[in-house]
């Protein structure tokens, strides 16, 4: 299998790299010996049938789950022993397939609570939130068309709106690597296009890196330069969207011919 890389990626070291990552739930291998590498500024897709271990991989990256074997390097540092908040401070943000918004707080408070905490001592937290943070939160809400809900309780939002709020909360700390878990599912088509534009903009202009889990192939095809396919916890294929979508193994895994 060929992995196409643009010239500038070849000589860069990966932003995120996993080697031999395995995660077992009892006897079930949710991830088995997976290797991957993501380069700065790249938009990478992560696809695979239901239950193939995509969300588990995210959980391992953001340190909700402890990996059983292997190592994960982010910005050159081994993170598989770090605490979740430390990884977040390093510039990794994610969204959750099953929403994790603070349901009883207002939308604005949700956003403010996701600001950049970056190794602050408790003393630095002993002040009201900074006007700039507030400004940024409101801008993001406006972009996500949630501004009319600024003071609504997050738990009262519709599924799609909570999905958008999750994206907002992931963008809030200005991270370098953003993991989006099915961020576009349940979002209306017009807004999906806006989100696509925003992702492209962030990637091209600010050099942000994305890893996207999606079942929507069009979304993947439009955005991603490379796609990574998982099946039963193992890497099945990797390559450009076109390559992967014509790959026999992938077709078989999805449609089980």
């Amino acid at each position: 299998m060929t992995t196409e890389m643009t010239s500038n990626q070849k000589d860069q070291s990966p932003l995120l790299e996993g080697r031999g990552v395995s995660k077992y739930f009892g006897g079930l291998a949710a991830l088995h010996n997976v290797d991957f590498a993501i380069y700065p500024g790249e938009i990478m897709g992560l696809i695979g049938p239901n239950g193939s271990g995509k969300t588990t991989l995210f959980d391992c990256l953001s340190r909700v789950q402890q990996i059983n074997t292997g190592e994960i390097h982010f910005k050159g540092q081994e993170i598989s022993k770090k605490k979740p908040f430390q990884v977040a401070h390093m510039g990794l943000a994610r969204t959750f397939q099953v929403f994790r918004v603070y349901r009883k707080l207002t939308v604005l408070e949700n956003m403010l609570l996701s600001r950049q905490w970056r190794n602050e001592s408790i003393f630095r937290q002993l002040r009201p939130s900074h006007p700039d943070t507030d400004q940024r939160a409101r801008e993001l809400l406006e972009f996500l068309t949630l501004d009319h809900l600024t003071y609504e309780q997050a738990g009262n939002l519709s599924g799609g709106q909570q999905r958008l709020l999750e994206i907002g909360m992931a963008l809030m700390p200005d991270p370098e690597l953003i993991l989006l878990d099915e961020a576009a599912s349940g979002v209306n088509p017009v807004l999906i296009n806006t989100i696509k534009d925003r992702i492209l903009h962030l990637s091209n202009e600010q050099g942000k890196t994305f890893l996207l889990i999606e079942h929507n192939m069009e979304f993947i095809g439009d955005l991603c330069s490379r796609v990574f396919v998982l099946n039963f916890g193992e890497k099945l294929a990797e390559g450009t969207p076109e390559d992967v979508m014509t790959n026999e193994d992938v077709i078989e895994a999805y449609f089980g011919s």
């Binding site: 994790r100 603070y102 408070e109 996701s114 937290q125 939130s129 600024t150 700390p173």
Partner: protein, 374 residues
């Protein structure tokens, strides 16, 4: 209509001027006590005004030691409930053993002031005066919170609650068993100091400090991060909040303040043993009063404690035998029927909070749009 009445109540309670007036009155109250003492020392009244005022003060005794003591006890309850609210209400770690810090504070003060019955008690930690001893009580409580919290705060939900209940019960037993330090069944006697106004003012100042402190904490990012921990600890951690550190910090702060109060209470009570210092009911008071007022709100513990204290004083002082049974039933009723507390009732879809706005609102047809905050 009910809505409007609730709004009015809320607006009155939270009106800046009303609050200020209450505080001023509370500060002035003991002056009646002193005025009576002054009157009693007079040989003859020189003016009709003095005559009527002094006769009133001497005959009616509007402010006695007992009144001051009652208020002091109420203030102590409010402070305790507010402290408990920091961990229980904001952070969502329902502590069923918070009285352990109160008891430790009490014992620390007693020992530091030299009540130990043990000959080998180090002289360095003996015969301190009250103020450093009280500070020491807070520090002892905070250190204990750090030690115990670094284990128990890893537990979630009911496991934490029960582990803290266990901490309280086990500490009580250990303190009782180490009788050469704690006096065992005999208890410890502190230097006797029966200056009620002093304790009244001390607790009032502490009350004002603690309530404002809690309000300030809630307004900071630190306070918000505590709420985030309550709402979703895993999510908060992954969004960059150092949940362990924040939890332990707030736990220690809360324990420190509780220890201070315990120290003051011990000095006021002049006696303590394991049973009264580590009384389980004190924790339940904190929980119940906070729940009644509104969990996780700044004003909740104040309102809840005041109402519950008044209920105790007025309603079932006459049924002393049944009073514990009433308390249990009341706890069940509060939890089942007003789980959001009085603040929850007052706050629900509140159309406005300032007195001005409400009065204006009555003359308008449609209610004003008001952003809801939590």
């Amino acid at each position: 209509m009910g809505r409007k009445i609730l709004d009015l109540i809320r607006a009155i309670i939270f009106n800046r001027w009303v609050l200020a007036a209450i505080v001023v009155l509370l500060f002035l109250m003991p002056s009646l006590f002193y005025a009576r003492e002054w009157c009693q020392e007079l040989d003859a009244f020189t003016s009709p005004l003095q005559d009527s005022v002094c006769t009133y003060l001497i005959e009616e005794k509007p402010v006695t030691n007992a009144v001051l003591l009652n208020f002091t006890q109420l203030f102590i309850l409010i402070i305790l409930a507010s402290n408990w609210n920091l961990t229980g209400g904001f952070t969502g770690y329902i502590d069923f053993g918070h009285a352990v810090f109160f008891g430790l504070g009490g014992f620390a003060t007693a020992l530091l002031m030299g009540s130990s019955r043990w000959e080998d008690w180090p002289a360095l930690f003996s015969d301190w005066s009250f103020w450093p001893a009280m500070l020491g009580a807070g520090i002892v409580a905070a250190i204990f919170a750090l030690l115990i919290g670094s284990f128990t705060l890893r537990l979630k939900g009911p496991y934490f609650s029960i582990a803290m209940l266990g901490t309280l019960v086990a500490t009580r037993e250990i303190v009782r068993a180490s009788s050469n330090i704690s006096g065992g069944g005999l208890g410890l006697s502190l230097p006797v100091y029966l200056n009620r106004p002093m304790f009244y003012y001390l607790s009032l100042v502490m009350l004002l400090f603690v309530v404002n402190f809690v309000r300030w904490i809630r307004s900071t990012e630190f306070g918000s991060s505590l709420v985030a921990i309550r709402e979703d600890e895993v999510g908060a951690e992954m969004r960059g909040i150092n949940t362990t550190l924040n939890k332990i910090t707030v736990f220690c702060i809360s324990a420190f303040l509780t220890g201070l109060v315990g120290g003051m209470w011990a000095y006021m009570n002049t006696f303590l043993d394991a049973d009264i210092a580590f009384n389980q009911n004190r924790t339940i008071d904190m929980v119940m009063m906070t729940m009644l007022g509104g969990l996780g709100t700044v004003a909740g513990p104040v309102i809840g404690s005041t109402i519950l204290y008044w209920l105790r004083d007025v309603l079932w002082a006459n049924f002393l035998l049944f009073h514990q049974i009433f308390e249990g039933i009341l706890l069940i009723i509060i939890v089942l029927f007003v789980p959001e507390g009085i603040m929850g009732l007052l706050d629900k879809d509140s159309s406005g909070t300032s007195l001005n706005r409400i009065v204006k609102g009555w003359f308008k047809k449609e209610p004003e749009e008001h952003p809801r905050t939590s």
